[in-house]
Assembly symmetry: C2
Homo-oligomer: 282 residues x 2
């Protein structure tokens, strides 16, 4: 069996957000040939510059595996968000999808972990190895310690610990990856609304005087039983904007298993907003 | 020491919502004399009919204990919501409050459990025994089994179990009492937004197609370490309206330690909306 080499093509299965183009560029910079599979309605095909891009709809599973075979991809990275759980009626399944449909339907009926792990297994059976975006480009991972000019205060550290404990607890139940604590009290937990939706709630809670006017920390961490190749916690310039609008002081996330979506842009946005980013040992 | 009898006055310390008037009426019906302490900005003094009502501001702790002494109250029920955490600047503390201020400030810096337990201790030291609204009027408690015409389906039972497990997990961390599961997946967890705020989110998640269009169960349960005299989970006609608007199928809550805010009105509202209410063994 032929070994994958640095010159090999690598499929970048791309959902929404700023991270997929960053990962594709990082793969190219590391000597790989990125082949972008842009999920229609999620990824922006124009965002990938010179990389090769195929736009596929959610149900086109047969076409997906044909495309990967034609491109010679034996490795794939899953990256970016899937904002919408696919509506079965809108799937427009092709023949490849129809064969898998009972299995996919069963996967949709469960938490994100189960869905993604099941999809990963379908790829592996077809000889395509899933790799972590970090394995592919280690520079994308958050390092331990404070990455920003601003350092966390003792109150920030107390909030970080409370929020991390809560995020780990809900992660253990395969519910969410994130939590916010203000003045030592956990005030928001992430579930289906996603991290951005949860952060938006903080400003509402302040308006309603249900929580103190300022301060607090966002914690993000990998679910304890999560496959690190799939759905890693991510932080990017949008996170910086969102937590600034929510009046939070900073972010605590796990070093080595949190993706930073463009280090210069992200740290630059955090520094410009006067926020901290802390990488903690998992 | 004089024993409390059924004829004794009982203080009803009343926050927001429909439950305080229900509890005051239930106390009167059980032969007690309710003395309502309406917290300004939270309770509606006009909602208590013929009962004696004193309106007090949050900081008037000295006045509160003088009023309870004048009325001869040796027992008190805490009931209703506190929508806003008191803003220290707006407290307008009287002398009694100033003496307690360091202790109250320390209590505000923590979860709801700690806050309420600390306030309870302040009452007990002054000879006022806190009693559960259920102890005072057992009819207010949810019974085991299905209380509505609609019965839960097997899918509803799966959702109820997932949501109850999540609600217990966040309760163990003193974060919230409620969770929602749809098709077996936990999609919302309560923190500082409160149960109504969390339920309102469900409709938004459906609009954004992040969760299935219909179905799902709200679970409410007492925090494992919570004092049962304080802040019991409650269900009322407003809960029925809210979960109907959110497209949920019903509610699962703990029998014997969930307050039903007006049995006839609540079950009537649930039946009219075609929803179920299930009392599960804690």
């Amino acid at each position: 069996m032929r070994q994958a080499t640095a010159a090999d093509p690598i499929a970048i299965l791309s959902g929404s957000g700023g991270l997929p183009p960053v990962v594709a560029r990082a793969a190219a910079a590391a000597g790989h040939r990125p082949v972008v599979i842009a999920i229609e309605g999620e990824a922006d095909p124009a965002a990938f510059g010179a990389a090769r891009v195929h736009s596929l709809r959610f149900g086109e599973i047969g076409r997906l595996f044909r495309t990967l075979a034609e491109e010679g991809c034996r490795r794939a990275v899953f990256i970016g968000g899937i904002a919408r759980r696919p509506d079965i009626a809108a799937l427009a399944p092709d023949l490849g999808a129809l064969k898998l449909l009972p299995r996919v339907l069963s996967l949709l009926h469960g938490g994100d972990d189960r869905l993604l792990a099941g999809v990963a297994a379908i790829f592996e059976e077809r000889g395509i190895r899933l790799v972590s975006p970090i394995e592919n480009a280690p520079d994308l991972a958050l390092a331990a310690g404070v990455a920003t000019r601003r350092k966390p205060t003792p109150q920030d550290m107390e909030d970080a610990e409370a929020a991390l404990a809560a995020a780990r607890a809900i992660g253990a139940l395969d519910i969410g990856q994130a939590a916010v604590a203000v003045e030592g009290r956990v005030v928001a937990l992430e579930a289906a609304e996603g991290t951005d939706g949860m952060i938006a709630r903080i400003a509402e809670l302040r308006d309603k005087r249900r929580i103190p006017k300022a301060g607090g920390v966002l914690a993000k961490c990998m679910k304890p039983r999560q496959d690190p190749r799939l759905d890693l916690p991510t932080i990017g310039p949008a996170t910086a904007r969102n937590i600034k609008a929510a009046g939070l002081a900073g972010i605590a996330a796990e070093a080595g298993r949190t993706l930073v979506a463009g280090r210069a842009e992200t740290i630059g946005a955090l520094d410009a907003a006067g926020l901290f980013l802390l990488g903690v040992k998992p």
